[in-house]
Amino acid sequence: MSTENSNAIDIVDNPHGDHSDHGNADHDHKPKGITRWLYTTNHKDIGTLYLLFALLMLFIGGSLAMVIRAELFQPGLQFVDPHFFNQMTTVHGLVMVFGAIMPAFVGLANWMVPLMIGAPDMALPRMNNWSFWLLPCAFIILLSTLFMEGGGPAAGWTFYAPLSTTYSSDSTAFFVFAVHIMGVSSIMGAMNVIVTIFNLRAPGMTWMKMPLFVWTWLITAFLLIAVMPVLAGTVTMVLTDKYFGTSFFNAAGGGDPVMFQHIFWFFGHPEVYIMILPAFGIVSSIIPTFARKPLFGYESMVIATASIAFLSFIVWAHHMFTTGMPVAAELFFMYTTMLIAVPTGVKVFNWVATMWRGSMTFETPMMFAVAFIVLFTIGGLSGLMLAIIPADFQYQDTYFVVAHFHYVLVTGALFGIISGVYFWIPKWTGVMYSERLGQWHFWCSLISVNMLFFPMHFVGLAGMPRRIPDYALQFADMNAFISIGGALFGLSQLLFVWGVVRCMRGKGIKASTQVWEGAQGLEWEIPSPAPYHTFQTPPSVK
């Protein structure tokens, strides 16, 4: 029944809204210059800022990864010393997780959630502005540590104690402060999404009529406000352990370093779902559009998302199988981890069923979405392998783990974001992206990303540990191949930038209101480009 809901959406009011009291003849009136962006409270401006910031961070994080791959191109130490190498792996992870993936999702939420639920803006526009502008501050602080004496954080993005306490560099306080600011920013972004969805839905937009992107983001936002404060607590404990003589993680003072891992992963595991659930929502918007069929199993998708979110809180110790937990606890975490495959499998089968016998076309967003389904499933299955305790003792801290989480985060989360950008950019800019450029971007990315990450499974199974600047000779050929894949993948993303910049400059075929033949939903009923103010009078949803 609800699979047909999107067909029933109808707008009775002019989506431009009534602007007789606007006081300005120009409906799209906006301030000019830099202050427009500094002071903006407009959800579309802030969404754009988030997305551009994420793109910049993608390239900064990517550059750090290229340092890693350059060093690993050959065995032995060529370019960087091991301490700097560790800083590269650490800051690469932090930048990609907190600077690229999460802000990109918040940017998409800012742009699309109000349009999808018929809201005039986000519910808390000033907080919205603040939560964005905190991010550049946080990352300036984080990246500046790389230039400090003693270097930046080098304990891995998971900053396990005592690496981050006893053995960390003097810049740890900057790292802690940067993470605090990032956390505050994410929490405010999440609150904004929750309040918007709770209070600003258009009349008739009931819970079970909400597009799946809105649903997945709502659940993600709750995960964020539940676990980002725990991360803030973790880094605070690291700070006080290092500088103020507390002993949370210091056995000499009665603390426990393993407890760091418990507290960190209590945040960390929900965090990995924070980075994938919105991508599920994006793909759930794209597949029905290009299969020209309603989404199969809408309710089961919502329930599956909620189940994944719930399970994410009770599986954290599967990251710690080798810490010497008792067998009963290991079994508990193994079974709950495997249980997650059930709702995730429901989602994958629903997407496939949506495509089944649809009249499909393969524009760039659809290509990325289909690649997402296939490659994310590979990442999910390697996750299942890691969940098997005896196998995990072999895989722990090898390149197999690196392959696993890059399949779910790059070909999962990042491909989801890229497909969403191609899908919605005609609505944002008013022009179609270049399909030829998009297809080139897709095929180059698809081939290079698999050159980059697939062989990591093999070197990992063969015993190559992660986070090392040097390795045994037998891994040399594979690592050279991986590094070439990495360089190609990085260069392929320049095609993406080219396509995006082309759209932002208005070059391309004018996009229609609906943009895509099979597109359904409120966001496809406003003109392209979306006016600066939309839905000032709420649409009514039947």
């Binding site: 609150m191 309040v195 725990v230 607590g233 973790t234 000499a252 426990d256 507290i263 008792p326």
Partner: protein
Amino acid sequence: MESHKLLVRKLVLICIAMFGFGFALVPLYDVFCRYTGINGKTENTAAPAARRVDASREISVEFLANRDPGIPWSFAPEITRIEVHPGQVMVVNFLAENLSAEATIGRAVPSVSPGEAARYFKKIECFCFVEQPLDSRQKKAMPVQFYIDPELPEQFTTITLSYRLYKSTLSNASR
């Protein structure tokens, strides 16, 4: 706007509560581990003497000692292995010597393996209950008096008691 404020207030409360929960996890893990006995942590207070001795079986108790690189002491058990009956009270000495020219305070942190046996490892007196100051070049035999609880399940035949010696953080602070 009122409904916004109310909802925001609730969400802020959730955030504050979760921030507190992060810190509450510290004692919660401790309580959980003590209750289930899964962390290899032993009670760090004196246990009452055993009521009976179970002479029908023998348990191998092994001793390990190692030290943190931060403390300039030598530290080793006098013997590495003894056979005991459950309930039988034993005393084993650990030998420490301060190799540096400065007085140092040490703190030994015990751990029992397998972790599930930790709660059956009862210490009547232990040098690990208190901090151990040693003057420069001073040697000391530090005793631990213990017994194995006769309630120990049958599957355990070997129990390892391990100490790691740290420089006391208190002495660090006063340095």
